[in-house]
């Protein structure tokens, strides 16, 4: 029997232990990003997320400089992530300050903050190249991400942070849904909308910083937005959509890490984003939505084959004519639905 294609072998977890751990760590990150991305998208924070991601670059550079100055390795992940988090928070605060205290609109604030922080990062990277210390060469992986050469401990840290992020979203799920749908209503009934918005921003910041190593700061916004955008085509329910988005994010990151394992020169972030985009394209064109003309013909079929409908949730959700089957299926699934909100 002939050997499996190397990529297939890696995808099927037949690579070395370290590679498998890294791939699973990346998948956990992808899931967390997909989950947070739902609220980044629904609360319209995509552009802010992109600006914040680009604003991590000067932080990474300063983290490197600080680590070297204190006698650590310049690639010490804790220093780089702490630096990234600090400048990302500064960028978020700058955007808020410009948008609320000046006559400039939010998109102008977002664009200018993104550009200024990124420019500062580029300049600092150039400064670092002139330092008489080792390790500068590796810094560019934070631009486009790389899982090649990633340590098992790093992957486990990623997974742990991702789990924390997912738990926070689960705990605040109904409140985040509420402010995303109708912030005025939430405010009128005493929900702390500003704090919840801060929570969304904090979660975005968290996944951006966690994702730097794997996806890179230039493209991480795509991993935030593409999975929920694709998931929206599969469900009309925020809870289910979040689970699907998590799955799409996980699969994208997993495949990206696998390709990185056989081809170390390929930027992981770029591959992850392309996989996510392929899933989005598939979702846009091939998932029968209630509004699409393609869906109408599928809906006709759905009315007849109830067993098909209850076996396929996505088709079920798009078939208005199969309401009776859906009601029945809903009751069956209601036990499964509850944890989506509980987490």
């Amino acid at each position: 029997m002939s050997e499996l294609h190397p990529l297939l072998a890696i995808l099927l977890l037949q690579a070395g232990y370290n590679t498998v751990v890294v791939m699973l760590g990346a998948a956990a990150l992808g899931a967390a990003t997909g989950i947070v991305g739902v609220f980044a998208m629904l609360r319209r924070r995509a552009l802010v997320a992109d600006a914040v991601a680009h604003a991590t670059l000067p932080g990474v550079a300063l983290g490197f400089i600080a680590a070297v100055a204190l006698g650590f390795s310049g690639k010490n992940l804790s220093f780089l992530m702490a630096g990234a988090a600090i400048t990302a928070v500064l960028a978020a605060l700058s955007i808020q300050w410009i948008a609320s205290r000046t006559r400039l609109t939010e998109d102008t604030a977002v664009a200018s903050v993104l550009a200024v922080f990124f420019a500062l990062g580029i300049v600092l990277l150039t400064v670092i190249q002139t330092l008489k210390t080792g390790g500068q060469a590796g810094l560019d992986i934070y631009l486009l991400g790389a899982t090649a050469g990633m340590l098992r401990e790093e992957a486990i840290t990623l997974a742990a942070f991702s789990l924390i992020v997912a738990l926070v979203v689960a705990a605040l799920f109904k409140e985040l849904t509420l402010i995303s749908f109708d912030a005025d209503y939430a405010r009128a009934h005493g929900f702390p909308v500003r704090l919840l918005d801060l929570a969304v921003l904090g979660l975005v910041l968290a996944v951006v910083v966690i994702g730097l190593r794997v996806v890179g700061l230039v493209l991480i916004v795509a991993l935030l937005i593409t999975p929920p955008a694709a998931a929206r085509f599969w469900s009309d329910h925020t809870g289910r959509m979040t689970l699907i988005s998590a799955a799409i994010g996980a699969v994208s990151a997993y495949v990206g890490a696998a390709i990185s394992a056989i081809s170390p020169d390929t930027p992981t972030g770029a591959v992850i984003v392309l996989v996510a985009f392929a899933i989005l394209s598939f979702s846009v064109f091939l998932v029968p939505r209630a509004e699409s003309s393609f869906a109408r013909s599928v809906r006709e079929d759905c009315g007849v084959h109830h067993d098909l409908i209850s076996s396929d949730r996505s088709t079920r959700s798009s078939c208005r004519h199969a309401r009776r089957a859906r009601l029945r299926a809903h009751r069956e699934f209601s036990g499964i639905d509850a944890p989506e909100h509980a987490g």
């Binding site: 629904l42 799920f173 109904k174 849904t177 005025d184 405010r187 009128a188 009309d236 009601l327 509850a338």
Partner: protein
Amino acid sequence: MLAPSPSSGLSPEMKTIPPLSVRDLTVQYGGRTALERFSWDAPERGLVAIVGPNGAGKSSLLKTVLGLVPKAGGSAEIFGKPASERRDAIAYGPQRASVDWDFPATAADVVAMGLYRKIGWLKPVRTSDRASARHYLDMVRLGEFADSQIGALSGGQQQRVFLARALAQQAKVFLLDEPFAGVDALTEGVMAGVFRDLREAGALVVCVHHDLSSVKEIFDHVVLLNRKLIASGPVATTFTPDNIARTYGVPLSLNSST
């Protein structure tokens, strides 16, 4: 109608305090005066229409009472206290156009949002809450649409989803922003019926309203507003052609700022 709870401080003394009392309320939007020294005591219960031309400050009035828009002066109280201390007594219905109806939610999901305060933090929406949401949807005759995506509903049905969500708050004071905008005759009839039930239950329902022709059929009281209070009182005596003309007619030269 309203379960007494220590936290909401709803006591017998509230019966003597108007459910909604506004004193000299002034609201400004970017230098423009939306509402000027508006004072009004709502009736103890019943159905009130707030009527006036576009830009008369009707929505601003509701939003300021709820604390969504800062006030430049004056006060607004629900049972003698600011809205921030009376959250359990209030239900708000924003304008239909203020939200994105493509949002991934079903009618029952949206109505369940009216139960979130009661459910509390960190707790999931349970099966009993879903059943409760369906009950409120039944009250606005949308029971069979509980699992429909909200974007698939008609404008009138969407208005009824918002009303059902407000009902789920089990409030004493309902502040609804144009609940009758863009509705068909069926929805109008259903909502007017729900309003009558609320009145019987002792609630106060205050609606921003645009359709002058239906004021008499639906409402008991009317507030005529054009940045200032023009007139308020029972529909029969206040909603007169003369008062309507004063509200909509010649712009009041006194307070035109431009």
